[in-house]
């Protein structure tokens, strides 16, 4: 029977027209989904999603992830061994923006909030959250006449309940972080690990948050600082970056991440709030802290 099945399999393959897309050759010949056998990458190929139309990501987000790739892997795609981060997976989500912000309030300098909705369905159950940041990327490096101080206020909201259940007071908690914009940044990261940790761990995949900035009024005296703020690129909705440790057998586990396999992920401390470091410095900081931890 095995031999016969093998022949029918070969015959079935031969029937596929020669110029069929390669992933169609991976289609289950018996119609039964066997994707559990393959690592996630081949699961995509196996299901033929390789060719399915897909939403195109934001160009700034793609540029940032290409830089991250260059920092983490060689040209041939081999993960660099000198890396300090504990994760073997990084996912970047662009938001569905719910409310457009209104122009900045001239009196208090507050840039009115924007509501963000993120759908994290792509995060699998075996991916444990190590760190999460909101990422503001600038088209070109932004320079301010002087350091600009802002208060960043983020409110996490319960995903809107369906019309059946009685409306409840929005379950939200506020997260304040103060940070300074210095010269020449291509991106700014706001660490939101403590907010997302419980949600991702409890398989919540729809994240609803509202964000607003209040920049110190005295900074606005200087007319050019005012100009600097009015076109502050923070008005661009941020992306959500998740640093994850994939604990499945097919994922690569460097010696760093083995410490974290199966343990409650130890997110870095939140006191620093904003980490507006270029990738390199943060990576170096990661080495120091991991050495300290060890």
């Amino acid at each position: 029977f095995q031999a016969a099945r093998g022949e029918s399999q070969i015959a079935a393959l031969a029937e596929l027209d020669s110029d069929a897309e390669p992933w169609s050759l991976l289609q289950p010949l018996y119609g039964k989904d066997r994707t559990g056998l393959f690592p996630p990458l081949f699961k995509v190929l196996y299901n033929g999603q390789g060719g399915s139309p897909r939403l195109q990501p934001d160009s700034r987000a793609l540029h940032y992830m290409k830089r991250l790739y260059k920092a983490y892997a060689t040209k041939e795609g081999i993960p660099k061994t000198n890396r300090s981060h504990l994760c073997n997976t990084v996912r970047l989500f662009t938001p569905y923006v719910k409310h457009k912000q209104t122009p900045m309030d001239q009196v208090t300098g507050t840039i009115v909030s924007v509501d963000l909705l993120f759908n994290l369905d792509r995060v699998t159950a075996v991916e444990h959250l190590v760190k999460s940041v909101l990422l503001y990327t600038f088209n070109n490096s932004v320079s301010f006449p002087s350091a600009v101080k802002c208060i960043y206020n983020l409110v996490m909201k319960k995903p809107e309940s369906s019309s059946k259940t009685p409306p409840r007071a929005p379950h939200s908690f506020t997260f304040n972080s103060q940070f300074e914009f210095r010269r020449k940044y291509r991106w700014v990261e706001v660490d939101v690990t403590t907010l997302l940790q419980p949600l991702v761990a409890s398989d919540k995949r729809n994240i609803h948050m509202s964000v607003n900035f209040t920049c110190m009024k005295d900074q606005l005296q200087h007319p050019s600082a005012q100009d600097g703020l009015s076109d502050l690129p923070l008005l661009v909705p941020p992306s959500l970056l998740l640093y994850l440790n994939d604990t499945s057998a097919q994922a690569y586990h460097s010696r760093y991440s083995l410490h974290y396999k199966g343990r409650p992920s130890q997110a870095p401390d939140q006191k620093k709030g904003l980490s507006a470091y270029p990738l390199g410095e943060e990576a170096a900081e990661g080495v120091r802290s991991s050495r300290h931890r060890r």
Binding site: P39, L55, Q56, P79, R91, R122, A249
Partner: protein, 136 residues
Amino acid sequence: SQKAVNRELKKPLVPASFNLSEYFKQFLFPQNECELHDFRLSFSQLKWDNWIVAPHRYNPRYCKGDCPRAVGHRYGSPVHTMVQNIIYEKKLDSAVPRPSCVPAKYSPLSVLTIEPDGSIAYKEYEDMIATKCTCR
């Protein structure tokens, strides 16, 4: 007669086309021994470049070649492999094949992909590039 002896002496010992070094080589280094070969693949060839952003080139490499007798020291093969080789060579059972040349070690691969929902994922997968061959 003298003439016949002279004629015989003039005959070359080995055919003119015979190459001595080639002849000995087959004993020193068996032809196409089991070893690692490159296979450079670009995802655009597979039309996957619309969702695999990086790397641009992927060389999974593969193992190919004959397993020589002395597989032990050269490939770190277990004694079982030599037993299988003897059975094969002595044709004790035609169903028993010659030991195969297969990968023994791998290295991981990092990929950057665009997911169907438009999000971007950086993932590191284990065992994606063969780095060493063995006979089993």
